[in-house]
């Protein structure tokens, strides 16, 4: 049986491992145009800063593929013929498969703003983006980062550390309203301002200004000009499925490949996993889950299913983590979903950048926690939410869920902000 996996990211490699473990003799081919070796996409920022090397962010030793018996093809798949079970590549080569897993990941979203083709405009998502940004940062003096999300803040951080002056354009009235509330968002912007980032809230992007093909500035939606020689758009990612439009695969309105609970697509012998996949969320909405953790989990489940076991992909209680410059962030459960009658409290420590936000229903059942500034064991928090613990109980027991380094200052709530 010849299994082909498109994508060498976290979903692809986890599927390959699971498959290999299930069937030691499986013939597995991994196709990727981005890189020869699987690397941690979330760590690209550290490579840019020289905190890690190119090699450091590869989780496996270089002989891993040979040891596992995975064949690699470095090429871009441009067309899928599902009836003939053939993949056509950019190089003109084509390969056939018995079973196919599509884990082609995401692409950066780019709108059709004027000037986005000038030299000095780009994104920071792929290995190629990293190489581009490294090159640009050598000569650039001032950058504008557009988009107040996670990739945006990471890009701001690395450019600042590379010695650039950075303006951070955020459309919303505070940073990252999808996950934070106004007070939390303001803490983050305050922290960034302390570092010298110029933050522009409630600012729409207008157009890129250029001279001789090169970026010289931008114009905001309000018509204000900002001089800069580098513009990085971090306004989200979308499934990389443009090449599948004529394949007969069912895609959702965002371009995500529609799958059932076994991550099977509508076509025979084709599965999908990771960022490019559209799954049903807990609230019945169908959309892609573009997270490292879901990519990993979907990859594992796809590995079982592609072999022939029937395993359901069921996302447990939501959790995620991030780091905004020096402020660590953990979120668990349902935060910012605005359920009817939900309420929340924000607990603050003496160090105001250490906060805990608890979201609860009218009967005081805690349904979500947002933590800033400390390390928390998300598994314990998840177990409380699943056990439907009440607000007072959770506040009293919060200490038990800490996961800080030893000798950290004691956890002590001083105010309800």
């Amino acid at each position: 049986m010849h299994y082909v996996i498109i994508g060498n990211g976290v979903a692809g490699i986890n599927a390959a491992h699971t498959l290999k473990n299930r069937d030691n003799n499986a013939e597995i081919t991994i196709v990727s145009y981005e890189s020869d070796n699987h690397f941690s996409r979330t760590a690209l920022m550290y490579v840019f800063c020289g905190q890690l090397s190119d090699r450091c962010i590869e989780p496996y030793e270089r002989d891993h593929y040979e040891k596992m018996g995975f064949k690699r093809i470095r090429d871009k798949v441009i067309r899928l013929d599902s009836s003939g079970k053939i993949l056509y590549m950019e190089s003109g080569q084509n390969i056939s498969y018995d079973r196919l897993l599509i884990a082609s990941g995401s692409l950066s979203v780019m709108h059709d703003w004027p000037g986005i083709n000038y030299d000095g405009v780009g994104n920071f998502v792929t290995w190629q983006d990293l190489e581009w940004l490294r090159e640009k940062a050598k000569s650039a003096k001032k950058a504008v980062v557009v988009g107040g999300g996670l990739i945006g803040i990471e890009t701001v951080e690395i450019l600042l550390h590379a010695g650039l002056e950075v303006s951070f354009l955020i459309r919303e009235d505070y940073y990252w309203p999808i996950a934070l509330n106004k007070k939390e968002g303001d803490l983050i912007t305050e922290h960034l301002t302390d570092y010298g980032v110029e933050i522009r809230l409630k600012t729409e992007f207008g157009e890129v200004l250029g001279e001789n093909g090169k970026v010289v500035g931008i114009k905001t939606g309000e018509g204000e000009k900002i001089d800069c020689d580098l513009v990085v758009f971090c306004i989200g990612v979308r499934p990389q499925t443009d090449w599948l439009k004529e394949s007969g695969l069912e895609l959702d309105e965002r371009g995500g490949i529609i799958v059932n609970e076994h991550l099977e697509t509508n076509l025979p012998d084709i599965w999908a996993a990771g960022d490019c996949t559209s799954v049903v969320w807990f609230n019945g909405v169908r959309r892609p889950e573009q997270l490292w953790y879901t990519g990993r989990d979907q990859g594992k489940i796809a590995g079982w299913n592609i072999y022939g076991d029937k395993k359901n992909y069921k996302r447990g209680t939501f959790y995620n983590s991030a780091k905004f410059f020096d402020i660590e962030y953990t979120t668990v459960g349902l935060v910012n979903f605005n359920f009817e009658g939900e309420q929340e409290i924000l607990l603050r420590e003496k160090d105001k950048f250490k906060t805990v936000r608890l979201v609860y229903l009218p009967d005081k059942t805690v349904i979500g926690c947002n933590m800033l500034g400390r390390r928390w064991n998300h598994e314990i928090l998840i177990s409380w939410i699943e056990a439907r613990k009440k607000l007072d109980w959770v506040v009293d027991h919060l200490k038990e869920a800490l996961f800080d380094e030893e000798f950290m200052p004691q956890f002590k709530i001083i105010t309800e902000a």
Binding site: H17, A43, L52, E157, G303, E328, F407
Partner: protein, 365 residues
Amino acid sequence: MQAGLLNTFHKNSRTRGYTGWILSAILFLFYILFYFTAIPDGWAHFFGLEGKWNLYGTLYTLAILTGGIYFLTRHGNSRYQKIRTISLIFFQIVFAYSIPLVMEIFETKGFVFSIFWPLKIDYFYPQNILDYPILLIVYVFISALIAVPLMTLFFGKRWYCSWVCGCGGLAETAGEPFRHLSDKRVKAWKFEQFSIHSILVLALITTAVVIINWMLHYTDISGNWVTDHGTFDVIVTKIQGTYQFLVVAMLSGVLGVGLYPLMGSRVWCRFFCPLAAILGLFQKFGRFRITVKNDMCISCGNCSSYCEMGIDVRSYAQTNQSFKRAACVGCGMCSHVCPRGVLKLENKWDFRMGPDMKQRQVFDL
């Protein structure tokens, strides 16, 4: 981003570039001069010091002090790192440097309280230790045979290797810029297991034969210290000399520090130190472990890269395996640099010893 670590891999001196090689050559030369020539005695006299080893001790202490301050500017934002580094500087200045110096002023043979057999193998050589007052002799045996194993069972190897030890002290402070250069490959791990236990066996044999040889000596009627086993005496003297040359001078000194800019700061501690080997064995059965928070790792590799002992921490973190590794000196850097707070150093009895504690898995399903 960890401010102290920015640009690590952009610097020639910190990525085995030519400046790293030059620095390594200078360190090699320095150690060869100290161990095998009398030239440094001249330098010592110039500074008004008695001999080359006084000069060496002074330089070593200064290196730990300045390196320690440098480390604190980089990682002092973590309280664990701060307290640990202050402890290392304290033990070097007070126990390794000042107390022996004061003892010498009072015309007693200097004694370092913060170093134990077999790292200081002479402490178990009867001809050496019997010169000391009885309380110090008791201290030598109780510390090495009872206190060190007990402390390690309760707190892990770290109480010594990254809080007290002078070799560890230099590695953690002046060696800080090179910690990421340790070899993370499984191959290096295999070599480490072989080499460190070989040196331990060598240390045990050397100590045993020296003690036996001493017991075979007696004072004859004219008051001379003699033995009837002349050949054995010659062989033992050879073994003792070989250990002194190979392990003490070459491995702990010349290679141990000389290779800092090329193979990281813990070459001696990781591959050769016989005390580290003993501590490692007790650590495996003790409380100290690194707890991994399930399913939170993003495989970025900061932990593995900055592990000075060459442990591929990420391979445990990304497969949800809490672990105990004999090599781990508990410096805490993996936890400190983790951007998702996945790792936690803990002293916690765990008798389950599940598969996660025994062997490393390449992947988790």
